[in-house]
Amino acid sequence: MLIRILKFLIVPVILVALGVGVVYYVVENPTDSMVARMLTYDFIIDSMEKHLIMVFVSMVAAMAVGIPVGIMLTRPTFYYVGKVIENIVNVGQTVPSLAILALFFTFLGLGFNTAVFALWLYSILPILRNTFAGIMSVQPEVVESAKGMGMTPWRILSRIELPIAYPIIIAGIRTAIVINVGTATLATFIGAGGLGDMIVTGISVRREMVTFTGAALSALLAILLDYIIGRIEKNLVRWS
């Protein structure tokens, strides 16, 4: 047990150490006074915090909507509704993320809430689509035998369909979270803050070190979250 926990911790510890290393290095060794003024511990931690909150809130909300709607669409009653919704969401996903942000700030205004709303909308699709696909992938004979043995529809969903669909649903959450962390760097354009602040300011004042810090931290964050969810999936699914 202890060995398993340690094994689980190796990668996250390395990633966090790398992040801390980068932050420590850039703050302690600024290339000039301008970089020194920009890259302070306070500013970096504040950006990181905002970024994480944006990702966390939008992801939780996206799961809260995507999974139930995905399940609902697999029920025979909603089959045609499901097709329509799936198409709408598919078209929605083809709109570039920056355009989504631009689109919403015109009527939701600038700021944090708009960014979270756009990220939420953007993260629903992979989750919804994978939930739908995961449940549809359950072999019909498995459901038929469950039904034939006298399981209620609710029990079939909770004991058979969802557990079998877990790997695919979690894969959807993984895709969504990686896209989400990346897209959240664009939130800076509508004044929502986050790690994107460093990337964009760094570019506009031509200080690579600032851009690098923002980019490196968001990349490390994406890898870390992806890894953690991947491990959760492995622990949940022992049978395949």
Partner: protein, 371 residues
């Protein structure tokens, strides 16, 4: 036990009904086989019994009770259900799969656990070895055994089986069929068994219902279906080689004599030589003092191998059948091992005798003259 009254099912958009005014009755403890070509309505009929499919017209009575008045969930919990594709739950261990219905019925966990182990043993699986595995770790035949154990879990009086042995190879299938018949003798369930294979129907059924285009053509005992098929359709289904089909109806133990003709482990070479020469198949079986089959000695082994006693000379037996196997099973095994004989053993491994190709031919000839 089960009575179908004017049972009819129409699917929307279909010209003729899938099942048309079916009337039949299945007695308690009987195996009723529904047989017919695909699309004849046999599966639909079966599914109407546990209400996976609702009848358009007509009634089904189980134990005198109209099933349309029973809650379908409650009805299904008391009817075992086995399908061709098995439908084991891939994310659950074998134990959990078998425990499905007891858990739905909220049995205490101790009782469920005991019952699960008991059932796995009943269908010939080792609870220690297989219980904690996932279905993907089992062979097709083993999976089907689990499927049957799962259906039997809460000891339902009725079982519905839809081509349960169709997905396994021929030899495994006949093994499973024999084991199932042996089980049925103990359990005495009322069984509705669906198949498209007339050979299987003749072997498994106490009664056979031949269906065609949703209508019942003939409902009778296997022997009568063979000797007096009602019309061309049934005659064609049964086929021209009816005397060979009768091999399905005769069990090995019925034509074996009292004396199994084996020799003991310490038989000297000279006696063996003499016995092998006398034998029609030039082979003699060797049994130990408990009567278990240990090996065999043929002319070849006598030449090639040294030693003075049967124990040292004998070779391994290529394959055996059980004494409740049908003559047709025995024939399949003979063809499989490429020999004109097959040793017969009881379920607990005691040697019963040797079936030869000639003895099978004699049976076919006598059936033919009887026809």
């Amino acid at each position: 036990m089960i009575r179908l009254e004017d049972l009819t099912k129409r699917f929307p958009g279909m010209e003729r009904p899938a099942v048309n005014k079916l009337n039949m009755e299945v007695g308690k403890g009987e195996v009723c086989v529904l047989v017919g070509p695909s699309g004849c309505g046999k599966t639909t009929t079966m599914k109407m019994i546990n209400r996976l499919c609702e009848p358009t017209e007509g009634k089904i009575y189980v134990d005198g009770q109209d099933t349309s008045r029973i809650n379908p969930i409650k009805l299904r919990l008391d009817i075992g259900y086995v399908i061709q594709q098995i439908g084991l739950f891939p994310h659950m261990t074998i134990n959990d799969n078998v425990a499905t219905v007891p858990r739905e019925k909220k049995w205490p966990s101790e009782k469920t656990k005991k019952r699960t182990e008991e059932l796995l043993e009943l269908v010939g699986l080792d609870p220690e070895e297989h219980g904690k595995r996932y279905p993907s770790g089992l062979s097709g035949g083993q999976q089907q055994r689990v499927g049957i154990a799962r259906a039997l879990a809460a000891d339902p009086p009725i079982m519905l089986m839809d081509e349960p042995f169709a997905a396994v190879d021929r030899i495994t299938r006949s093994r499973l069929q024999n084991e199932f018949l042996r089980l049925q003798k103990e359990l005495n369930k009322t069984i509705i068994f669906v198949t498209h294979d007339i050979d299987e129907a003749i072997k498994m059924g106490d009664r056979i219902a031949v269906l065609r285009n949703g209508e019942l053509i003939q409902y009778d005992e296997p022997g009568n279906i063979l000797s007096a098929p009602a019309g061309d359709f049934v005659a064609n289904l049964v086929g021209k080689n009816r005397s060979i089909k009768r091999l399905h109806l005769i069990r090995a133990q019925e034509i074996l004599g009292e004396d199994h003709g084996g020799v003991s482990l310490d038989t000297p070479r000279e006696t063996l030589k003499q016995k092998v020469e006398e034998s029609v198949i030039s082979t003699i079986m060797v049994v130990d003092e408990k009567g278990n089959l240990k090996g065999m000695v043929g002319a070849h082994a006598l030449q090639e191998r040294d030693g003075d006693r049967a124990e040292d000379i004998m070779e391994e037996v290529p394959d055996t059948v059980t004494d409740d196997a049908t003559l047709n099973d025995a024939l399949s095994v003979m063809l499989e091992i490429g020999e004109g004989y097959v040793p017969v053993v009881t379920a607990d491994g005691k040697f019963r005798g040797t079936l030869t190709l000639n003895s099978l031919l004699d049976q076919v000839r006598s059936e033919k003259s009887a026809d």
